[in-house]
């Protein structure tokens, strides 16, 4: 395709970049402009047809008297490129669902009358020359380019990281709080445990009070366990990654050790273990901490299958690119959507009173985070759950 100057598009830069709609009368004209943009894209760039038709709807629904502005820009320095659309939409227009379906990423900032929407759609560049791309960028420019890219870059990054940030902040706050409470509880708790133990020792077993004291001791020990969990959690929060020993280890043997600790349960509960063979994968890790993660997640998987007829624990390790994924799957009860969003929250548990402190997965997430990794969950109610632990690979996998 021959490149000419920007007027080739038949649209002035400013027009293309900022389509202002002051009233409904201007809609057909705007529509035309947009159609032209998209037909131009059509030669070399394939936008989802959804989006093309969506825009006519958006404009139709725009409120009279408002001056919603549509801004289009190209985002990204290399493939995949993203087209970013920034516009306002009256609240309650019913289009939000379609917008969310049509774009790859949608960020909505709620206002009193209208929601401001920043949406990203993947640009399918098909043999597009660098020159054309450059021209397109130029054509779409409405602020200083750097300013726009910076803005979009940060928005896009924020889109991905805001959720993580919120979680991290929560963790850190809880870490501090836990440490405070745990320290304060530790001393009186130690007193209680020992006083009870003393009385227990000096009460004959046939005395009725012996049983009561045993109960008191058991409950106090439960508190102690919770306090210990809170402390190990806050310790994780406090310690930087540089404070823990990180060494290269093969995942396989670490997994073996974790499984060994659960062997009794696996056999007793008749769980079938399907372990897919994989090449040795070396990861920089703190061995004990990673073992704790594998133990915790696997033990949760066993918990989930306690009442299932089919009890299959599936374990596999897959290397893709510079990341290794450890999958731990069960055929248990599954996790419902509303629970799924909270499973990493501190002190959140669905287990019966006394069986879970609600810190297991929180600690796992913190540990994996310290290893520059990530935990993902996929679950279907009634069918089971798969946890995926992603860790960055240091060396290349060796067979």
């Amino acid at each position: 395709m021959m490149m000419q100057d920007a007027s080739f598009y038949g649209i002035k830069t400013a027009e293309l970049a900022e389509l202002s709609i002051s009233d409904q009368n201007s809609i057909p004209e705007n529509r035309k402009k947009i159609d032209r943009v998209f037909s131009l894209f059509g030669y070399d760039v394939f936008l989802s047809t959804y989006i093309a038709t969506l825009f006519s709807d958006i404009f139709r629904e725009m409120l009279l008297g408002q001056t919603p502005k549509l801004k289009i820009s190209i985002h990204g320095k290399k493939e995949p490129y993203f087209l970013a659309f920034s516009f306002s939409l009256p609240r309650g227009s019913g289009l939000m669902r379609r917008i969310k379906c049509s774009f790859d990423e949608v960020k909505v900032t709620a206002g009193p009358k209208a929601n401001h929407i920043l949406a990203f759609s993947r640009l399918h560049v098909n043999g597009m020359s660098g020159q054309l791309l450059k021209e397109l960028r130029k054509a779409l420019e409405f602020k200083s380019k750097e300013e726009l890219y910076r803005e979009l870059d940060s928005t896009y990054t924020k889109l991905n990281s805001s959720k993580k940030m919120a979680q991290m902040e929560k963790m850190s706050a809880v870490g501090t709080l836990s440490a405070g409470i745990a320290h304060e509880l530790n001393n009186p708790l130690m007193g209680i445990i020992n006083f009870v133990q003393y009385c227990l020792k000096h009460t004959p077993p046939e005395d009725k009070r012996h049983g009561v004291l045993s109960d008191a001791k058991r409950e106090a020990l439960r508190c102690a366990e919770l306090v210990q969990n809170m402390l190990s959690f806050s310790r994780l929060e406090e310690s930087g990654v540089e404070e823990i020993t990180i060494e290269e280890h093969d995942i396989g043997p670490v997994f073996d050790e974790a499984l060994k600790l659960l062997l009794y349960r696996i056999e007793k509960e008749n769980v079938q273990v399907v372990r897919e063979k994989s090449a040795a994968v070396s990861v920089a890790m703190n061995r004990n901490q990673l073992k704790q993660v594998l133990l915790s997640v696997t033990s949760n998987a066993l918990d989930a299958m306690r009442l299932s007829k089919k009890k299959i624990l599936t374990l596999k390790t897959i290397v893709s690119g510079k990341v290794v994924s450890i999958f731990i799957g069960d055929t248990g009860t599954g996790i419902s959507k509303d629970v799924l969003s909270r499973i990493f929250d501190p002190f959140f548990t669905t287990k019966p009173v006394g069986q879970g402190t609600g810190l297991g997965l929180t600690i796992c997430q913190t540990i994996v985070g310290k290893h520059a990794g990530e935990i993902k969950v996929n679950s279907e109610s009634g069918k089971g759950t798969v946890f995926e632990i992603l860790l960055p690979l240091q060396g290349t996998p060796h067979a």
């Binding site: 745990a182 530790n186 001393n187 130690m190 007193g191 445990i193 020992n194 006083f195 003393y198 402390l231």
Partner: protein
């Protein structure tokens, strides 16, 4: 002769815990409710010393440092729930070659007894 144990802790319930656990196995337990008091008491000879880490006034780190100036031998256990504010101090103690061991709270009476008996046996075997 009953073994003599010194427990330095600002918390009454902790001191009592040690007393109850150890008097049951025929140890003689002395207590001090502050680092300062603890240091004074070490003018007498003890077989084992337990010292809390977080105390008003002299901290466990400072108390152990002062005790070790005169007494290089008695086994000293610093009892703590992990606390970051003392991590540096503890590292410094180690660096200065001051001998101590760390115990984490909560300690059950069984554990207290096991530690005392184990330590005394270890000493006897030398």
């Amino acid at each position: 002769m009953p073994k003599k144990i010194l427990v330095i802790d600002d918390e009454d319930s902790i001191r009592k815990s040690f007393v109850l656990a150890l008097e049951d196995v025929d140890c003689k337990v002395d207590t001090a409710s502050s680092g300062e008091e603890g240091v004074k008491k070490t003018a007498a000879k003890y077989d084992i010393i337990f010292c809390d880490l977080k105390m008003p006034g002299l901290s466990g780190v400072e108390t152990v440092r002062l005790i070790r100036k005169k007494d290089k031998k008695t086994p000293i256990f610093i009892v703590t729930a992990f606390s970051k504010e003392f991590a540096e101090g503890l590292k410094k103690l180690e660096k200065d070659d001051i001998d101590f061991q760390l115990l984490s709270k909560p300690l059950s009476s069984d554990k207290i007894v096991a530690i005392v008996e184990g330590t005394l046996e270890g000493l006897a075997s030398y």
